[in-house]
């Protein structure tokens, strides 16, 4: 069972604050982490390998040199091998260029049964890389997988979440899936894992080594372009009621009635 897990290093944004003076994100004290959804992808990959008793889990990430830290963490969590796709030429990639670059890496890695992505990143927030990757590799795709029921003999049966409930889908392998957090509870790093993550080699592949078409990666390969970045205006015109709770509730009901909202 050979699994490839795609993971991205992102700023852990729980405590993102905006500096009211300069209107910029305050970065101090924000650590980079593995994209939370990708930790479920990794855990599922490791479980698949364990269940099948053989094979390996390869974690890949496209990003700047310090994304190596995320891959080392992936090793501490059970990945056998890690590859960082890092090159100045990859900077500024949109989802298409990212998926193209990941697809080239998958082809270079070779034999695999399944590729697992997170449902979305928390910085880019698009959820597009997984499905685009599948299409570029020309293999089946299933989004929002919440359970792998069975996976054997070149075939998988999975549950995936949709708005109204869940669907059971069968697909030949290899395939790309994206996973939601319902799928598992990721483990903590093991002592052995931590030791291994310190000594293990993280391969770094550059654009020439991957033989990518440089007009298809990074900013050059991106069809979309960000032309403006700004902060959402929060027009705060809140009416906070005063006085006894009961009369506050009366006030509220009055406002809702006036607006025909009850």
């Amino acid at each position: 069972m050979n699994v490839i897990v795609c993971l991205k290093q992102v700023p852990g944004t729980t405590d993102v604050k905006v500096d009211p003076q300069t209107n910029t994100l305050i970065r101090q004290g924000i650590e980079n982490v593995i994209n939370p959804f990708d930790t479920y992808a990794l855990e599922e990959g490791v479980r698949l390998k364990e269940r099948h008793g053989e094979g390996k889990v390869t974690a890949i990430s496209m990003g700047p040199p310090q994304a190596e830290a995320a891959l080392r963490e992936a090793i501490s969590l059970g990945a056998d091998e890690a590859v960082l796709l890092s090159d100045k030429a990859f900077a500024g990639a949109d989802t298409w260029a990212t998926a193209y670059t990941l697809a080239q890496a998958v082809n270079k890695i070779g034999q695999h049964d399944i590729i697992i992505c997170g449902r979305q990143t928390i910085d880019g927030d698009t959820g597009q890389v997984g499905p685009e990757l599948a299409e570029m590799l020309g293999i089946p795709f299933v989004a929002y997988v919440s359970r792998i029921e069975e996976l054997a003999d070149g075939q998988m049966r999975v549950q995936r979440m949709v708005e109204e409930g869940h669907e059971v889908i069968e697909s030949p392998l290899p395939a790309v899936i994206t996973v939601v957090k319902e799928i598992n509870v990721p483990r903590l790093p093991s002592l052995r894992g931590i030791a291994r993550s310190k000594s293990a080699a993280v391969a770094v592949w550059t654009a020439p080594e991957m033989g990518v078409d440089e007009s298809r990666v990074g900013l050059a390969g991106s069809f979309t372009k960000v032309i403006k970045v700004f902060f959402p205006q929060r027009v705060s015109q809140s009416e906070i009621f005063q006085g006894e709770l009961a009369s506050q509730v009366d006030c509220l009901v009055g406002r809702l009635k006036d607006a025909d909202l009850t």
């Binding site: 905006v18 994100l25 298409w96 927030d125 959820g127 697909s171 990074g218 032309i227 902060f231």
Partner: protein
């Protein structure tokens, strides 16, 4: 490709530091340094008085093809019922098509879909309908191939679809094959009339930052839009439009995956993404049983029940009720947040609601800044009073 700071030129004036929306610039020893994470947005370049910041421009892009004309809306249905988002997109699509002086078409795949003529009443000039028993379920493989074929044949300049679980899963595949740009989860769409470009505005970074994105050289320009972001138009009963029925070619269009079963989630009696009123609960509820209080209020108002991630993570209510960045985006007429602090990730999913009511015992909770009306108080007192009042008044 990328950004370069010419340290010879840089005077360390620091003008660029405050303009970086990501706070990535810093003056160290009289020279500017850039941390990782640059999106090449160019704000710093404009602020630099000595032109020390160089952003290598993408190579001159080929001009977009002029053959592509028309605005397309993917009209999603499930089990024969058109989804609300189809009408919302038609309202926006109508605006875009009028600005571009072109046609608006709706594209619908399904079987025995009810009220197809409603798509015309809501603004479509043409409806491309592919009806086949095989399309009754939303089979993404079939949808992907069928949509690619139609787009290649008719060459629209803009294609928009709902950012639903279906749209988010199959539209990227269409864009990947067509080799064109796709912007996810837009909250604003308008036209740069001079260049016939679709300006697509979307939240990133968990709603902390808005980005406006264009797709210059490729057609169609594609975007997904979250449900409830745009408002439907009132249907126009006598509106004229063409309904074009197309055959589904089951020989040519095949599926690699197979749908074996569909299991409906029974806890969700009123769907939060379609509801006009949502009563939502957070960690302040304290335990699962206390969601009863919200259910009582909700049933008095005909509302759906939502939740913050904290409540979902505690296991008090299923994930399908979660509102926010990693849950659903909702835009009801009324959103009542009970015991929810108002973290940006939660606000990202509900801040466009028409009226927001916050009930929270902490006057400093950020939810009060987003709220239209606020009650500072214990939800265990306020919610039952509110329910009582609404039932009897």
């Amino acid at each position: 490709m990328g950004i370069e700071i010419d340290l010879e030129q840089c005077t360390g004036c620091g003008n660029c530091v405050p303009v970086c929306p990501f706070g990535l610039l810093e003056v160290v020893d009289d020279k500017v340094q850039l941390k990782e994470g640059c999106t090449l947005c160019g704000a710093c370049q404009e602020a630099c008085p000595v032109d020390a910041i160089l952003i290598e421009a993408a190579p001159a892009v080929e001009a977009a093809s002029d053959e592509h004309r028309g605005v397309w809306v993917f009209a999603e249905q499930r089990h024969g019922q058109l989804k609300g988002v189809a009408y919302e997109l038609l309202a926006k699509g109508r605006e875009l098509a009028n600005t571009l002086q072109t046609d608006l078409s709706a594209v619908c795949f399904g079987h025995d879909v009810a009220e197809i003529s409603q798509l015309v009443a809501h603004g479509a000039d043409k409806v491309y309908l592919v009806d086949s028993p095989e399309l009754a379920d939303n089979l993404e493989d079939l949808y992907t191939r069928q949509f690619i074929e139609l787009i290649q044949e008719h060459k629209p300049e803009i294609v928009i679809a709902g950012a639903t679980s279906l749209g988010r899963a199959f539209i990227p595949r269409v864009a990947a094959v067509l080799k064109t740009g796709l912007t996810a989860d837009c909250t604003g769409l308008d036209i740069d009339t001079e260049n016939r470009l679709l300006r697509q505005t979307r939240p990133t970074f968990g709603g902390n930052i808005m980005a406006t994105i264009i797709c210059q050289a490729k057609r169609p320009q594609m975007a997904t839009v979250r449900p409830r972001v745009f408002k439907k138009n009132t249907p126009e009963a006598g509106r004229k439009g063409q309904i074009i029925k197309l055959d589904f070619d089951r020989e040519r269009i095949t599926s690699k995956t197979r749908l074996l079963d569909f299991v409906r989630d029974l806890t969700e009696t009123v769907k939060i993404e379609e509801a006009d009123i949502i009563v939502s609960g957070g960690r302040g509820l304290g335990k699962a049983e206390n969601f009863k209080l919200l259910e009582e209020l909700a049933s008095a108002m005909g509302a759906a029940v939502g939740a913050s991630r904290a409540a979902v993570d505690e296991g008090w209510i299923p994930y399908s009720h979660q509102v926010g960045q990693t849950g659903k985006t909702v835009c009801p007429k009324l959103y009542i947040a009970c015991g929810i602090s108002g973290a940006v990730q939660h606000l990202a999913g509900m801040q466009t609601s028409d009226v927001i009511v916050a009930i929270n015992d902490n006057p400093d909770a950020p939810i009060f800044e987003a709220a239209t009306y606020g009650i500072v108080g214990d939800l265990f007192k306020v919610v039952p009073m509110l329910t009582e009042k609404l039932k009897n008044g």
